[in-house]
């Protein structure tokens, strides 16, 4: 998290030319160890995959249903997070109000909360007997647990902090002089936000959205606790993987994991090239 209060961060300028230098071993060794640590488990999945039966397993309807549900819910959850999270990030970065530090700490709670606990907490609020859920049920006859909407709620709860932190960091790093100039020229705060601030931090918003989507796609604990597990309704890919392992079908679980991995990496790589590096 960036907490620098300096309004102007160093920006732009001609790229400094660096002499080709040897990377210090004190950095290189742990860096490579870190890389290995992250990549080895993925290599394990690839090595262990039952390549011979792969085509047949991929076309099983259950796998595709779970994959579609995962991509759909993660996308909707990300949209919800954008809608609520960007204004929240703006509030944290630009507005001055008492208790701002506390609010920022609260926003990051879902990051440190075990997702299963998050799921229980969601049940206590949105469940049939929950604080709000009881009212929803009594008034509209609508309950969130065991519905696809419930999956979206669980994913958004867990993923939104990633978006808020990324966007807040971008806002803090952005040059506020453009906003000040817009204000002197008579633009209101809303106009300044939509016409100056938002375009300025668009790469940060994109990065945050990508992270948020990735986190939502991999969500397991809060989903299974809050939304339950039923194929086609609430069984996302991570839940399908877990249930397949439970059934003793390690090969099947590896295949599902690879599918999820491939799809998410492909989408992330595509978005990254399009948005993030073209700042």
């Amino acid at each position: 998290m960036t907490s620098a209060e300096a309004p102007t961060a160093a920006r732009g300028g001609p790229p400094r030319r660096r002499r080709a230098q040897r990377v210090p071993a004190a950095l290189l060794v742990p860096a490579l160890a870190g890389l290995l640590f992250l990549v080895l488990p993925l290599a394990g999945l690839v090595v262990r995959a039952p390549w011979a039966s792969l085509p047949q397993r991929l076309t099983e309807p259950g796998a595709l249903t779970a994959l579609r549900l995962s991509v759909q819910t993660a996308t909707v959850a990300t949209l919800v997070c954008l809608l609520l999270g960007v204004p929240l990030a703006w509030l944290l970065a630009r507005a001055r109000f008492p208790g701002r530090r506390l609010v920022r700490a609260l926003v990051t709670v879902p990051l440190v909360l075990p997702p299963v606990v998050g799921g229980v907490a969601l049940l206590l609020v949105f469940g049939r007997r929950g604080l709000l859920g009881g009212w929803l049920d009594a008034t509209f006859g609508f309950t969130l647990p065991f519905t696809t909407t419930g999956v979206v709620v669980a994913e958004a709860f867990v993923a939104m902090p990633f978006l808020v932190i990324a966007v807040e960091g971008a806002l803090r790093g952005a040059d506020t002089r453009y906003e000040e100039a817009a204000a002197t020229l008579g633009a209101g705060r809303w106009t300044t936000f939509t016409h100056v601030t938002l375009p300025l931090v668009a790469p940060g918003v994109a990065a945050g959205a990508v992270l948020c989507w990735a986190r939502a796609l991999g969500e397991f604990g809060a989903t299974i606790t809050f939304a339950g597990n039923y194929p086609g309704v609430t069984q996302t890919m991570p839940l399908a993987v877990y249930q397949t392992i439970e059934g003793g079908d390690l090969d099947g679980a590896v295949v599902l994991s690879l599918v999820l991995l491939t799809v998410s990496v492909a989408i992330l790589a595509g978005l990254r090239d399009k948005w993030i590096t073209s700042a």
Partner: protein, 262 residues
């Protein structure tokens, strides 16, 4: 904000994401064992439905064998069988169904053949006082009623599927839970109106739930087998624990919890 900063943010947050994705069941090898006699730590992997009775038996066993510590890993039988087959250092495996036990013995991880030490039967768990007045299996298909089942991969789910298909009750649950305690907790939380769980589970949660007996459950009685594991770090301790479970005192605890004697 330049691309470099975005990338730095991404990298930092990705690290956070990964850190948040931990989980699994920690388990480490048992303490030192001294060749003969029973000492050290006995690590028991037991089905979730054995939580209360095995905790009790473990305490009794420790009291009868000073110097012995019993450690439990309670989870769905299939998850436990997976962990054992992947090399988890356990001494004893107690499964809620022969199928999951067979996964372990077929992989050559059992020491000797498993012994059945208890039987368990399904009941309908409903919130205390049975507000929806559920009296029979067929009541579960009533429109608007929310029912939780275990997934078919775990013993309680396999038993539920057997019972429902034998009775020709076309039940559409709202969720397939990964172990019996998951199904039970959905009843406790009031999120579902009923769940098919073991009789022992409703006894253990008698403050919150009632168990409704139904005759069809006799068609899907679960045998609970137990075995000493081949790679048991504490084999003497494991054998002593299994013998204790099967002794009169162990059986008394089990039947007191609602199990039937084998």
């Amino acid at each position: 904000m330049g691309p470099r900063m975005v990338r730095a943010t991404l990298a930092g947050l990705t690290a956070l994401t990964l850190a948040g994705c931990g989980g699994g069941t920690g388990s480490s090898p048992g303490g030192s064992t001294s060749g003969s006699g029973v000492t050290g730590t006995v690590t028991v992997f037991a089905a979730a439905s054995l939580t209360e009775s095995f905790t009790r038996i473990g305490e009794d066993f420790e009291a009868a064998n000073p110097g012995v510590t019993v450690r439990f890993n309670f989870a769905g039988s299939s998850a436990l069988a997976n962990q054992i087959n992947q090399g988890a250092p356990a001494d004893v495996f107690a499964s809620a169904a022969p199928k999951n036990m067979q996964a372990v013995t077929d992989a050559g991880n059992g020491d000797g053949s498993p012994a059945t030490f208890a039987r368990n039967q399904l009941v309908i768990a409903v919130p205390r006082g049975n507000p929806k007045r559920i009296a029979a299996l067929a009541d579960l298909t009533r429109p608007g009623l929310k029912v939780a089942l275990c997934a078919e991969q775990v013993p309680c789910g396999a038993a539920a599927a057997r019972v429902l298909s034998a009775a020709r009750v076309p039940l559409r649950p709202v969720t397939l839970e990964q172990d019996v305690k998951g199904a039970l907790s959905k009843v406790k939380l009031g999120e579902v109106d009923a769940a098919l769980v073991y009789r022992t589970d409703t006894r253990a949660a008698a403050d919150d739930v009632d168990g409704v007996e139904f005759p069809e459950s006799a068609g899907a009685v679960n045998d609970y087998p137990v075995v000493v594991l081949k790679n048991a770090p504490n084999r003497a301790g494991a054998r002593a624990f299994v013998a204790y479970v099967r002794s009169d005192r162990g059986t008394a605890v089990l039947t007191g919890a609602g199990f039937q004697a084998p």
